[in-house]
């Protein structure tokens, strides 16, 4: 079994339902995010367009975060999920330096690394990840990439040539795919980003308890 995600960006309307449900399901602390929907505006008036891109951990098959973790707190589950063991983590932040997608944060409440786990706890109980359930347009497709009859496998087959991953040059082999997206969706350097001018940009980070 190899669990994967696919987001159909042509369907996503940027409602942030997935983002909120993830926060609630996983009790993600204030100022931290496991999953977020990024808005990028493209073009010059009047020919403008707003794009929406949900961004989460890719559960890479060749995960740099797992490789650099000195204590195997980051580890592969048999279903392909890259999981975090908070009790094992020493908080060295090596994984934060290694993940090319900025998907890991140090939880200020536990002082340990955390990230999207594809809701491993729900999956273990036979449920879908919280974000999949919350999406009103079914833009998030989750399933077994090894099973040719799964929704995700069929979607990938149907959209051949239009299925992309983020930063393929990093050789991480993401198990998180996108269809209907372009450079602005997937490459953070393809858009201008002026910090301090966007909603949520000027927020106060929680002080870490203990540690520093």
């Amino acid at each position: 079994m190899k669990l994967g995600f696919l987001v159909d960006l042509a369907l996503c309307m940027g409602c942030k339902g997935c983002e909120v449900s993830c926060k609630v399901e996983n009790e993600v602390p204030i100022s931290m995010w496991r999953l977020r929907v990024k808005y990028v505006d493209v073009g010059t008036f009047p020919e403008t367009k707003r794009t929406f891109t949900p961004l989460r951990c890719n559960h890479c098959e060749n995960a740099p975060c797992e490789r650099i973790c000195p204590v195997s707190a980051l580890h592969y589950l048999e279903n392909g999920i890259v999981n975090v063991d908070r009790e094992r983590c020493i908080g060295c932040a090596g994984c934060v330096m290694a993940c090319p997608y900025g998907a890991i944060y140090i939880d200020p409440e536990t002082n340990t690394a955390d990230k999207c786990t594809y809701c491993a706890h729900r999956v273990a109980g036979g449920m879908m990840p919280a974000c999949v359930v919350a999406c009103p347009v079914e833009a998030n497709i989750f399933g077994d990439l090894d099973d040719p009859t799964s929704n995700i496998s069929k979607y990938i087959m149907q959209h051949q040539g239009n299925v992309k991953v983020r930063k393929p040059e990093k050789n991480t082999h993401p198990k998180h795919f996108y269809t209907g997206g372009g450079e602005v969706n997937l490459n953070p350097l393809a858009s201008k980003r002026e910090d301090g001018y966007n909603l949520f940009n000027n927020i106060t980070h929680l002080k870490h308890v203990g540690g520093h």
Binding site: V40, R67, A93, P100, K170, G182, N198, G210
Partner: protein, 299 residues
Amino acid sequence: MVEHATVATDAVVTLDVALPGIVWGWMITLNMWAKSIGTGVVLIGVYLLKKYGDRAATVKTLMPVISFIFLNIFLLFTLLDLHQPFRMWHIFFYPHWTSAITVGAWLATIFTGIIFVMAAGKILKRIDEEQYNKLMWAAFVFAIPVTLYTATIMGESAARELWQTPTELIQMALAAFIGGSATYLLLGIGDQNIKRDLAIVLGVSATLSFIVYMGEYYFGAMKAEEVAATIAFVKEGGSYHTMFWLGQSMGYIIPVILVIFGLRNKSNSMLALASILALAGLWIAKHVWLVIPQLLNLS
């Protein structure tokens, strides 16, 4: 294809979360800096002992003592930088050997142990010449990977395209030579010949290190889009432009000039000044290089 025609120029992020900020900060810089001195004094010290024998006799005690002090600074700040410092023991009980952090922690611990025995043995006069020599060679062998392993951690940091293992390996080795030679020069070790050797090591290492930085500064951007975006932080108008050039000037350019004049005029005070500047500049240069890739938006 309006979208594709405008993508490159007119795409603006209009709603997103805040950037995470700098995660590896001054404590990691201090860690690298102190390690450079802690290993450098061993690498250079063994060279002096082999070449000059009894003329460098003071090195026999100073080498392990200084190394031990700086290795402890390095270990202390490595520990303090952990968000869960009391779990450090996990590295020894649940080691993950693909991680350069694990390999480095083990090597540094063994190295510090050897240095401790050498320092304690010398101070307490409980070590004979033969035992000292054996430990010295063991320390020399361990000092090499302990100096270098941080470069492989940086290489494993796949998100930071600026840090490439081969370049960082060279920079780590040169930093150790600078750290070791500058420390001995500051302490005024040995006669004029020894000082000349130390000054040459300092001058050559600083020159080479500066050349590598300039290579990255002027040509790094050709390698990858991410490197270009990172280097922009130290280019003109970048937020770390001044600090970068302060580090390069203090750490490399001025010390090289001072070493040249110091050697010509046989001026020990010029060499001492070059050493102070080199040590301070090394910290600044390393800090800038550590921080700038963390300013980049990764997703």
